[in-house]
């Protein structure tokens, strides 16, 4: 019942999107979906200028290309690192295992900006060199290729920790006896990985990959900075330039269509064989000893990835901030820290509760409708935050005009930040739910039954059995939620009450709007630091629980 209510809350903006998309198409939509819309070129006898493909086709192609490459790369990096960290013995393993989550703390647009700053000179001189050698056309292609590669790289660096975290949790929850029996049947460790560990960790990994896809699909800032056009940038184009909200929402509908395909694929991939681990997990897996040379190599690759995805951009920020500090002081940003942390912590806890609740409902009522319901409630993440924001505003307006609950809504959304928390809930359920769902799936149902037979009810079983066993998954979810909310921008920009700024909005206004990198680097660094603090806090709490 509560699950239904939760879904309803999430579905309101979604329904709004569906409703809007079902309206007849507008002129702006033609602008997007046709070559030579309105026949302007044809009228002027400029037929040869008519492009081959419509905007929509090109952007969709871009989006899908980017999606595929980022997802593939993140999967490779995330899974490989998680496996190595949870099963092999090499120098710095423990610190690596923690540090590889760090790239998550950098907002993707900051990563993009910082890489753009780092590479722009190289790119420009390379482009000149390419032109002098191969001519103008090649340079154009080179330029686009470079942007695309850089975007793929930046997004991968920003998002692979989602896969890493999910996979690491799954791998450490994996019962050793499966791996041992595979070994005793003569399979090498790489075969064991492919045939046993990977399939068993698949639900969790797919959850992580889903997050990466969602993030990639609705990435706006980084795409703008790196000059890549995707469906999401197109949404904003339709909304602000063509001044047509309907077309924008229709585009959001397109993205959700892609997502629906992904969701069905996910269901198809993991749904056919619904299995539950039939073993209880045993703690502290034995780490595999590997040759010195190999372990050095592993450490080195981990360090390289960490360097590229975290140390280098942060170093760049520190460098900028040192310049900025000459003119500015840190103190004026400090009040923002408390503000942001409070908001992020509150919302994370709330979303975590909601996620546990939903995942639990699915376990108790394994009916397809329940599962679908829980899947639908994660769709909120697919919509760009800004669109979700205006949909929320529209829904509030609608409710206020038709009912008398206006004062409460006013208080929630304009007088306080609770409305923002609710909006976060709609958006970030997709971050909280998968790790917890996957974690719950790894708990043998036998244990539930044993607890029941010993006279424990629903709640008691949950608190005494599931909560302790879910510790790892919960902390992974909490880390992702906390950091994600801390970074969240478009929703916060649209829905925040007056005089309410967070580190993210501050950083954004300095970094992206004013392009004042030196001053902007200060709140950016504080933001990253706050993320790291949150990470430590979550680890601390989960250790002592």
């Amino acid at each position: 019942m509560g699950a239904l209510l939760l879904c309803l809350l999430v579905c309101l903006p979604l329904t709004f999107i569906l409703y809007e998309s079902s309206k007849p198409s507008t002129e702006a939509w033609q602008q997007l979906s046709q070559v030579d819309p309105g026949g302007i070129l044809e009228e002027l006898d400029l037929k040869e200028e008519i492009p081959e493909h419509s905007r929509l086709y090109l952007k969709t192609k871009n989006t899908l290309l980017l999606l595929c490459s980022v997802v593939a790369l993140s999967a490779m990096a995330g899974i490989a690192l998680a496996w190595v960290v949870s099963r092999w013995h090499f120098p710095l393993r423990k610190s690596m295992s923690v540090c590889l989550v760090l790239p998550l703390t950098i907002p993707s647009y900051i990563l993009a900006a910082s890489y753009k700053l780092l590479t722009i000179d190289t790119k420009n001189s390379l482009a000149v060199w390419v032109r002098t050698n191969w001519g103008q056309d090649v340079m154009s292609t080179f330029d686009e290729l470079w942007n695309f590669t850089l975007a793929t790289f930046v997004l991968t660096a920003a998002f692979f920790p989602y896969v890493y975290l999910a996979a690491r949790t799954a791998f450490s929850n994996l019962s050793t006896s499966y791996l041992e029996s595979s070994q005793s049947l003569g399979l090498s460790s790489s075969q064991t990985f492919l045939k046993v560990a990977l399939p068993l960790a698949r639900p969790a990994i797919i959850g992580g990959l889903m997050l990466v896809s969602l993030e990639t699909l609705n990435e706006f800032g980084a795409m703008k900075i790196l000059g890549i056009d995707t469906l999401t940038t197109e949404i904003f184009y339709a909304w602000t330039n063509l001044e047509d909200k309907n077309a924008a929402i229709r585009l959001a509908g397109c993205i959700m269509l892609i997502l629906l395909v992904l969701l069905i694929a996910e269901q198809w991939l993991s749904g056919g064989k619904r299995f539950h681990a039939s073993r209880n997990t045993s703690s502290s897996p034995t780490l595999k000893k590997i040759p010195k040379f190999k372990s050095a190599l592993v450490t080195l690759s981990c360090l390289t990835i960490l360097f590229l995805a975290f140390i280098l951009p942060v170093g760049q920020l520190i460098n900028l901030a040192v310049d900025g500090l000459e003119k500015d002081s840190i103190s004026r940003f400090l009040p923002l820290v408390a503000n942001s942390l409070w908001l992020a912590a509150n919302s994370s806890v709330l979303i975590l509760f909601a996620s546990v609740f939903l995942a639990y409902a699915c376990r108790k009522i394994p009916h397809w409708s329940m599962v679908t319901l829980s899947k639908v409630s994660t769709l909120g993440y697919a919509i760009p935050g800004a669109i979700l924001g205006i949909c929320t505003i529209a829904v509030i307006g609608f409710i206020k005009n038709n009912t008398s609950g206006g004062n409460l809504l006013d208080y929630l959304y304009y007088g306080s930040s609770y409305g923002l928390v609710l909006a976060y809930l709609v958006r970030f359920l997709a971050v909280g739910l998968p790790p917890i769902d996957a974690g719950l799936k790894q708990i043998n149902r036998n244990l539930d039954e044993a607890s029941q037979c010993l006279g424990h009810g629903f709640l008691s079983t949950f608190f005494r059995l599931h909560l302790p066993l879910l510790k790892l998954s919960l902390s992974a979810g909490a880390i992702m939620l906390f950091i994600d909310i801390l970074k969240e921008l478009p929703l916060t920009l649209i829905l925040n009450p007056s005089n309410h700024e967070t580190l993210a909005t501050k950083t954004y206004s300095l970094f992206a709007v004013e392009e004042r990198y030196t001053t902007g680097a200060i709140p950016a660094l504080i933001l990253i630091l706050a993320g790291i603090m949150g990470l430590c806090a979550v680890r601390y709490i989960s250790r002592n629980k």
């Binding site: 602008q31 909304w239 330039n241 063509l242 000459e326 505003i393 709007v513």
Partner: protein, 312 residues
């Protein structure tokens, strides 16, 4: 409450100054322009906001057309803000001015080689121009001004030819265009004046280097004049504190406030006169005295033309 799209730090300082002077507290909600409009629309008569501040005249016209603003009669405003920089119905008023100019690489282009926006469409400029994406409202307003001045066919041809002369796909910010010019990737770019100022005043040595390599040309001095635009504000239709809002708006256009803009954000004051060294160095120029409300009218057309011209 003030709804603003301007995210500039310097603005906050001005609001603080205003509070000191009058004791009126200013609450700020920063957001993207179109999100602000949505918010105002949804609030309707139950409005929480008094003053709407945003950059680009086209957006202000849009706000007016959406019925979000109200007319005000204020002699102070009438004297402070020139007629072409405010609304005919006095619903919105300019606060600062920026011009959209052409910058070029000093080493590669002779001074005087470019005189107009149209020059860049000539065949000899093939592969030598860069500009940012058409989804940027500054470009859209520039094209809208051409539609207003010369009609949509000419405007389309201009966009089409310029797009073909571009060295690369439109991308990045105005800063990036200047960097490309400095690096020799292209020889000319279309940018806003205050970006040049921000680059030149930057603490970053690389930025300063870029600024030193480029020169500014105020185009179309012999014809329509250089395209200018404003940041402006209007009082919300259902403002709960209209009197205070008006005071703030008057303060923003006052000489005291105006004199700060050239220094902090490198924007022109409404009077176009300033003792800021950079702006002095650029010298006087003839600005397009098209009524800015015209821009709003042709904005939608401009967007379609860009689309037709395949200028992403």
């Amino acid at each position: 409450t003030l709804y603003t799209y301007r995210h500039y730090e310097a603005d906050s300082a001005l609001y603080e100054k205003f509070t000191q002077k009058t004791g009126i507290k200013v609450n700020i909600v920063k957001s993207k322009a179109d999100a602000l409009f949505e918010r105002l629309k949804s609030e309707g008569s139950d409005c929480k906001s008094d003053l709407l501040v945003t950059s680009d005249a086209a957006r202000l016209v849009k706000a007016k057309n959406l019925g979000l603003l109200q007319s005000v009669e204020s002699s102070t405003l009438f004297t402070n803000v020139p007629a072409n920089l405010r609304d005919e119905d006095n619903q919105w008023f300019g606060i600062t001015v920026r011009a959209r100019v052409i910058v070029y690489n000093k080493d590669k282009v002779k001074a005087g080689a470019i005189t107009s926006y149209e020059d860049l469409t000539k065949p000899e400029w093939k592969g030598r121009v860069v500009a940012r994406s058409s989804s940027n409202i500054y470009n859209q307003s520039l094209l809208a001004s051409m539609v207003a001045n010369k009609g949509s066919k000419e405007a389309l041809l201009w966009a089409l030819k310029l797009r073909k002369n571009m060295a690369r796909k439109p991308q990045g910010s105005d800063r990036d265009q200047m960097r490309a010019v400095a690096a020799g990737l292209a020889d000319a770019a279309i940018v806003n004046t205050y970006y040049i100022g921000l680059l030149a005043n930057s603490q970053n040595t690389k930025d300063q280097e870029v600024a030193s390599k480029i020169a500014v040309c105020f185009p179309n001095q012999d014809s329509t004049g250089t395209h200018i635009n404003i940041s402006g504000a209007g009082i919300c239709k259902y403002s709960p504190n209209k009197a205070n809002a008006l005071k703030l708006l008057e303060f923003l256009t006052s000489v005291e406030a105006q004199s700060t803009f050239p220094k902090t954000t490198s924007e022109f004051p409404l009077s176009m006169k300033s003792d800021s060294p950079l702006i002095l160095a650029w010298g006087k120029f003839k600005a397009d005295n098209l009524k800015l409300s015209e821009l709003g009218k042709h904005n939608a057309t401009a967007a379609k033309l860009f689309n037709a011209a395949n200028w992403e």
